[in-house]
């Protein structure tokens, strides 16, 4: 397992491009996106755009390896991905520090204070997570990313319910990550004002529902 040097916010080195080619993903058995392809190289960020329900979350989950793709291929370096979902995975009864420590231990990284300060949580360090406001929870969820020490971030609407200052804070964090040779794939509806980003609009990739062949029972039943 990756055990990076313990200087602040460590990031692995090595070739770590995420290459997605002609990917098709399904949700609940229904094809959602098809023909998605892009390459994400070190130091760059890719913004996923698209209306609600186009399939951003599904795409991210697939790349994170939580669900198998319908077709196409994803080539990502092993043990490189850190995924942040709609839900933050916080334990209500544990304090901010305990929550972070746990993830740091799981990812085998060291010290959590850099993450805390980066997300401006030092003041709340030993407040139980249930006593946080929506935005504070979210900030803690993002601090988790910093302790993973993983180079490739998959973020699903990270700025939800963050105020403008916190959004700026988050922007800096991502920028720093990119600067250290990390990469980020971000699904969001708002402007983040990051450096060196491309934007990928998913709307053209919506899976077409073509009329089924009557009486046609192939393996996919449609």
């Amino acid at each position: 397992m990756s055990n990076p040097p313990s200087h602040a916010l460590p990031v692995e080195s090595g070739p770590m491009d995420l290459i997605v080619t002609d990917l098709a993903v399904a949700r609940g058995g229904i094809p959602v996106l098809e023909g998605v392809g892009f390459t994400l190289t070190a130091g760059r960020a890719l913004i996923l755009r698209g209306p609600n329900g186009i399939g951003k979350t599904t795409l991210l989950r697939t790349i994170a390896g939580l669900q198998p793709p319908l077709s196409g291929k994803i080539s990502a370096p092993a043990e490189a991905i850190a995924y942040a979902a709609h839900a933050d995975g916080l334990k209500a009864t544990l304090t901010v520090t305990e929550n972070l420590r746990f993830w740091a231990a799981i990812y085998g990284t060291g010290d959590i204070t850099p993450a805390l300060s980066a997300m401006n949580l030092l003041g709340l360090a030993n407040r139980p997570a249930q006593a946080l406001s929506a935005g504070q929870k979210r900030r803690l969820g993002l601090a988790r990313l910093l302790v993973t020490g993983r180079p490739l971030w998959l973020l699903d609407e990270p700025t939800v319910s963050l105020d403008t200052d916190s959004v700026a804070l988050f922007g800096q964090a991502v920028a720093g990550h990119l600067a250290r040779g990390g990469a980020a794939l971000i699904a969001t509806h708002i402007e983040l004002g990051l450096p060196s980003t491309e934007v990928l609009d998913l709307s053209p990739h919506r899976a077409r529902a073509d009329a089924p062949a009557p009486g046609g029972f192939d393996e996919a039943f449609a």
Partner: protein, 218 residues
């Protein structure tokens, strides 16, 4: 890995849950039984080992849904699945922490409750022994059931429906050992079989459970 165990134990304690509550439930069941079946000492003594085993089993059962459901709801199961730890290990740890917070206290407390149901003196050691050897299997099987039903809202009852038939062999051998002990017969055979089941489940079920979880996460 250990971190996970520590976290779960800490959660169990924080939540005011874990240790205390399983015991309390056990206590209450054992106290309710006399109300249900009437106070005649003779009958009670006869059924005591079985009832105690049933009580332990149900106390385990009630706390099963906690094994994965909470982590699923707050999304940390997703995150654990993408983390550099094998899902099998996660399952094993979860089962372990469940046993530490449920099975172990029950085992230690069982003799006390034995008194309540005037269990004959000979029975105590065997009861404790059988529980100590059997409850790990209960936790592991329970973890498997929880893995199958994670993500289904209100898995609770379905979970117990799935798990209870799986508990049958463990219960039979466990209770049999305890009863034979109480009646001063040799209880070694059922105990050996019990140990066999426990080891088998611990060796095999984590893989099944992990598979189930991966399926549920997609």
């Amino acid at each position: 890995m250990i971190a996970l165990l520590v976290r779960d134990l800490r959660l169990a304690v924080r939540a005011g849950g874990g240790f205390g509550l399983g015991l309390a439930f056990f206590l209450i069941v054992t106290t309710l039984v006399p109300f249900g079946v009437g106070p005649e000492g003779g009958i009670l003594a006869r059924i005591a080992p079985g009832i105690l085993w049933l009580g332990a089993l149900l106390a385990c059962l009630l706390s099963l849904d906690r094994i994965f459901a909470l982590d699923w709801e707050d999304g940390s199961l997703d995150l654990l699945a993408t983390a550099p730890v094998p899902m099998e290990a996660v399952v094993a740890m979860k089962a372990a922490s469940h046993w530490l917070t449920t099975g172990l206290p029950l085992t230690l407390a069982a003799p006390v409750f034995g008194i309540l149901l005037n269990l004959p003196a000979e029975g105590f050691t065997w009861l404790t022994l059988s529980l100590a050897l059997g409850t790990p299997a209960l936790s592991m099987i329970g973890a498997f059931g929880a893995a199958l039903t994670v993500g289904l809202k209100r898995g609770g009852l379905l979970l117990s429906l799935l798990v209870l038939p799986l508990y049958v062999p463990t219960l039979i051998y466990g209770a049999e050992a305890a009863r034979r002990g109480a009646e001063e017969l040799s209880a070694s055979t059922p105990l050996l079989l019990l140990v066999g089941i426990t080891f088998a489940t611990i060796a095999l079920l984590p893989f099944a459970a992990a598979a189930a979880i991966r399926v549920n996460l997609r």
